[in-house]
């Protein structure tokens, strides 16, 4: 890395944080990790690769809904952006297959 210029800062700001169309974010703060977010994150990375599902998987901080950790936010083109809560490794796989690949929301795990 090298020193950043204000021009670069401006153009980055213009592009925004989420530059890819399809992404998944996992809340990886202490509250999330305590509830198993690290396992969910690793499962998502692993399984997406194994199943050839193209999606950007990132970690992020705690969005505040600590009662529903681990939280996984999913944005897939053509579907509303939603947050899944109380996600387990199994649910993570369902999210990849059903939501990301087949473009259908997963029942019973959405938290608003």
């Amino acid at each position: 890395m090298k020193k950043i210029s204000v021009e670069t800062m401006d153009s980055m700001k213009k592009e925004g944080v989420d530059t890819s169309k399809n992404w998944i974010k996992v809340g990886m703060s202490t509250c999330g990790i305590a509830a198993g977010a690290d396992v969910v994150y690793a499962t998502l990375l692993d399984e997406a690769k194994k199943r050839n599902i193209e999606v950007v998987i990132k970690k992020c901080g705690c969005a505040g809904k600590c009662f529903a950790e681990p939280l996984v936010e999913v944005n897939v083109e053509g579907l509303p952006r939603v947050t899944y809560g109380k996600v387990t490794a199994e649910v993570a796989v369902t999210i990849l297959e059903r939501h990301v690949r087949n473009k259908k929301l997963v029942k019973d795990y959405i938290f608003f």
């Binding site: 800062m9 944080v17 509250c31």
Partner: protein
Amino acid sequence: MPHKIILVKDTGAVENKGVDFNTMLANQLRDSGAAEKASIVPVADIGVYDKGLVLRILPDNVTYSNVREADIKKIIEQTVLAGKIIEELSHDGRDKQLRIVLKNCGLVDPDSIDDYIRAGGYQGLRKALLELKSQDKVIEELKKSGLRGRGGAGFPTWMKWSTAKNQKTDQKYMICNGDEGDPGAYMDRSVLEGDPHAVVEGMIIAGYAIGASKGYLYIRAEYPLAVKRIEKALEDAREYGLLGENILESGFTYEMEIRLGAGAFVCGEETALIASVEGKRGTPKPRPPFPAVKGLWDKPSIINNVETLAAVPQILSNGGDWLAKIGTATSKGTKVFAITGKIKNSGLVEVPMGITLREIVFEVAGGLLNPEKKIKAVQTGGPSGGVIPKDFLDTPVDYENLGKLGSIMGSGGMIVIDETDCMVDLAKFYLGFCVDESCGKCAPCRIGGYQMLQLLNKISNGEGELADLDKLKRIAYAMQKASLCGLGQTAANPVLSTLKYFEDEYKAHIVNKKCPAGKCKYLLMYKIGEDKCKRCGVCVKNCPTQAISGNREKGFTIDQVKCIKCGNCTEVCKFEAVAKE
């Protein structure tokens, strides 16, 4: 017409019990010939509570609450098929939360400085260094914003900065207070972990404003992930030239370092924190001199809370007036609360100042954990705060209002208390915390706290006298007036405020020898009701001290001498025959 998604949640209304809405909805969709046009997705939480059946239709993004069976046909015909909104069913689904400090938490990857910059980060610093180019102008923006300290006392941030700025010395220091020792509070941890660059940027701007060349981030060692993320943030900011020498080619040079706290509550107090950073034992010193005049290594130093600092970058990039538009006359902006206790959705909420406690508890946080119980009070301000009884739930939350009610805003702990919680027990918990954490340097706190705790123990053991209530008040007064630091000065607050609003409960313990909430175990008795008991014998097996005796013919009884009031018997009895008295 695009494909519709119908999100469904029964948010708990008694009259709807037992209705299978999902099947009903699916059937009606099919009957209206709309089965292909919409899909039904049952969700776990829809952000609306106690409003019966709630439907949200996407992409229209309309929310209908208290939906009855009879309404469904209309919803399908008008909204799903024709895209029209039915006014009388629609629910104002606007979020009462307002995210400023937590804006990036959940949005950016905390380990990525690029994410932070993409989210508009470091624009505040740039504005300060390259546009305003003046310490006074930065302080002026803070003044306009009305930002007050979020660490407890609520002192106007600009005033502290201005005092330090006006000191003429060769060296000044900026310090971030990330000690966060209040039990149940973790707002600061979340910000440090979820958006570390906001704190780093806030620290650089503050350092510039007061004329410091060095900043310390004091973080408790129990927050290893926060420390790791801040370390990475500092490293990356340095690489990008946002920290270190000649920041953004502005000529301003500033360095930062992390110091770990060992988890003593008193080290959150600013003079104790300074001693701790200096490598000495963390005990408070009398003020004045205030740290802004004589602080770290006797140089002018400013200490700000994590949440205060995290609000600074956006104040600079959006302008002070922007924040001043949010909140009440005396308290601007938002406050993050860590809400726990008898609440459905425990977690972090960020709300604009001026929102009522009722809105926070029943709308933002989903209401009581057990809706069949009644709310009794809300505790704010942790061990330095007090309780706000249910009659005052409609009070708009700000520094002054909470103070008038005998509590404080504090750093943001919020505990919801229902009728199963005992106020004497609660006071004992907080006071016990302060007694454990007292540094022992001054007598009013060291001795007074202990004496008060003994009196509370006496009351909850059923040995209290009415005169003890006066003694509690007298010692509390002495502690408030004569303690050296904030810990001792405020330690009695939970006792005083519970006494003020719930004196009856104290008296029930003292005069009737009863704990109305059934919490204080010396005042409880477990008894088996002969009429309800089916003589199954399950409780006998589950009593750890073999206090239950008897047989199937004669029935069972509990020996009160052997009983340790663990409550196992009540829990295991399927017939609710064991009563707590």
